[in-house]
Amino acid sequence: MEQLLQQIINGISLGSIYALIALGYTMVYGIIKLINFAHSDVYMLGAFIGYFSMTTLKLGFLPSLLLSMLFSMILGVVIEKVAYKPLRNATRIAVLITAIGVSLFLEYVTMAIAGANVRSYPPLTGILTESFNLMGITITMQQILIVTITVVLMILLQFIVKKTRIGKAMRAVSLDSDAAELMGINVNSTISFTFALGSALAGAAGILVGIYYNSINPLMGTLPGIKAFVAAVFGGIGIIPGAMIGGYFIGIVEVLVSGYGNSMYRDGVVFAILILVLIIKPSGLLGKNTREKV
């Protein structure tokens, strides 16, 4: 029992990271029906910016987090403007292939500039290195840090989406962009804003994954990116709370499989879940089983 609880606690911090990435996939899909393959590289670059901020610039953790989010936000908006916006009326497959192209471009440019080698992430310092015991379960400050940051960001996101004017515009565009336009909503700037939000969260995830795994490299985005995408599909793609639930679910499952079974199967299980979801409830946990709008 204790061991199970311990695994779940460990899974929650990994799940936080997946959830943050999944949110970006789901928001972008919700608004322009695009699986943004480049999203996982925004997250990777977020990790690198955090790295340089903490090492070269010698900034602390929080300023580095903000810097990485800001950089990712700008990167996400630029990707949308340069690569996707000109294709607004193109076929979906054309945009999808473009997204894969952007992803490869970012990975190899990063390799060219930063090198392909694995870098070890600057360790946390001071109180953040500590851990404590709670009824036999070890909780580290690092875990608390990851979960706290994630929860704060999620609350902020919920507030923006539910309560602010631009958040309402986001929801309106994702529901019906023509009708939104008739309300006087600027659809293009709303799409940009969605990329900005999703990418900022990915930037945060990048720096958190750096401290979680202690290492980063230019291809680090691929696997967590796919898992976060699975998380988004699991929860119901396009649905914000679905991405949160999906992220935590995938994180916890992954840790449980490594803890109880064999860590070799960890990734396989995640994909098995994807296949099961697609068979049993293609619209995901929170999705409605409606056919796609034409």
Binding site: K168, A169, R171, L175, D176, A179, E181, L182, M183, G184
Partner: protein, 234 residues
């Protein structure tokens, strides 16, 4: 108030609007009727700026607005309740109405207009916290009209507001449209229910496969044999 001159619209090779010209004067209800696929919706979408014309002009109060964005047109006083209602289904009735006032900053006046909409459509007030997608067809139509009114338009474009509604509700919607007009909003009404539309309209245009083929006073068109045959069931 609104004038369209020699408008041509294409969808690829389809020539959907052919030299369409029409005028709506301040205070009028003008109706645009025609069979399925005639180009009525395309006309309204082009007026709102959702579809770019190949050539031709759109004037609002004498100003050429042909190259303005949909946002600018909403600001200038053009509002539309689109075909099929298109309410935002998972958002509440109140959120839908608030989105109608998206470009406005005058909070007090928005609140007044919200009250005005609730007065006109009391059922919307009862259901203001309910998701728009759970409303009945008639209620959704009222919401779509109410939402369009929230921008406080000078001219309201209505695309088939009676579509799919029970006869009693159709009566109600048309009398509401008349009320809205009497309260000072100019209306361009697209309808397939020609007899009802002609009854409340000052003037009417008849569209066939992309062209205006007939126009005149609503009451006159109602007497026309061609119209009777084609649109009024004998």
């Amino acid at each position: 108030m609104l004038e369209i001159k020699n408008l041509n619209v294409h969808f690829g090779v389809i020539h959907a609007l052919k030299n369409v010209s029409l005028t709506v004067n301040e205070g009028e209800i003008v109706t645009l009727i025609g069979a399925n696929g005639a180009g009525k919706t395309t006309t309204l979408r082009t007026i709102s700026g959702l579809k770019k014309p190949t050539d031709g002009f759109i004037f609002l109060d004498g100003k050429d607005i042909t190259n303005t964005t949909p946002q600018e047109r909403v600001k200038m006083g053009i509002s539309q309740s689109p075909e099929g209602r298109r309410v935002f289904p998972t958002m509440t009735v109140l959120e839908n109405l608030e989105l109608g006032a998206y470009l406005r900053k005058d909070k007090k006046e928005i609140a007044k207009d919200l009250e005005m909409v609730y007065e006109r459509f009391p059922r919307l007030k009862d259901r203001r916290k309910q998701a728009a997608g759970t409303l009945s067809g008639g209620e959704q139509q009222m919401l779509a009209i109410g939402r369009a009114l929230m921008s406080r338009p000078e001219i309201l474009l209505l695309d088939e507001p009676s579509m799919g509604l029970a006869p009693l509700l159709v009566q109600e919607i048309f009398s509401i449209i008349k009320d809205i007009n009497e309260a000072g909003t100019t209306i361009l009404l697209v309808e397939q229910n020609a007899s009802m539309a002609l009854q409340i309209a000052n003037r009417a245009y008849v569209m066939e496969i992309g062209s205006i083929v007939l126009s005149g006073k609503g009451s006159e068109l109602m007497q026309s044999d061609d119209i009777k045959k084609a649109y009024l069931g004998g």
